[in-house]
Symmetry: C2
Subunit: 122 residues, 2 copies
DNA sequence: CTGTATCCCATGCGATACTG
DNA sequence: CAGTATCGCATGGGATACAG
């Protein structure tokens, strides 16, 4: 009922494309996959998503918070503790994004074979 | 049976992450969504994915071809005609990626509301 | 029409230093 | 610990010109 068939990510000016650009992103996918398992503090998120820099983690979390996908919980402690979790809206994205992650893991052997065969032919 | 539980996109050096980086991308998503509807020639793809430049379309298609997701068919005509279509492997990705596109379209209203509310508070 | 080759600006992203 | 600020390299990606 809230679906608006006029919205089309293939249309250049459709707002939905700005949302697509944010969610169709490797860091977003990995962060949402981790948060899908439960509320996580910044430090643990940084370790779970191997190789992500603090800067990018902060920036991506801010963007996700702005889009209403992630909630931020700050505890007035020293040293500070901040936890992140998916909102109701963010949870509806967990399925689709974890499917992408699982696809990458399930088919990487075929992809590697394809790359080798492609590169061999030139 | 071809699933290898040791592969984990969250691990920095896992090859599956290189595949995730390729598929968790807005251009890849839009191209696969269009190709999911059937074999398409270059020109039509360029028009369907509004706003994509020829350079980026070519590069993305090459990468997808290299990963075994897209097949390229060249016709010896003048002017030349080249058609692209999803491979069997690429077709297994259509579901997950179109789900991402549909999510963006279905929830953009909520996302826009969240952005407005976030921006208003600062 | 389907590319390829350049040029060049914008953005992504890591590293480092610093603050509350 | 969880940021913010800054720097600078790498990549993304548009525009244009040109080739087959």
């Amino acid at each position: 009922m809230s679906y608006e068939p006029d919205w089309n990510v293939l249309t250049q000016t459709c707002p939905s494309r700005t949302s697509l650009a944010r969610i169709a992103n490797k860091w977003t996918a990995m962060i949402v996959i981790v948060l899908g398992k439960g509320r996580t503090r910044f430090r643990d998120l940084r370790h779970a998503v191997e190789g992500i820099s603090g800067k990018v983690l902060t920036e991506t979390l801010r963007d996700l918070e702005r889009d209403g996908l992630v909630a931020r919980h700050v505890f007035a402690e020293v040293p500070p503790r901040v936890e992140y979790e998916l909102t109701d809206l963010g949870r509806t994205l967990y399925g689709p994004l974890s499917a992408i992650g699982q696809w990458a893991e399930a088919h990487i052997a075929e992809v590697l074979d394809a790359r080798e065969s492609y590169d061999r032919q030139r």
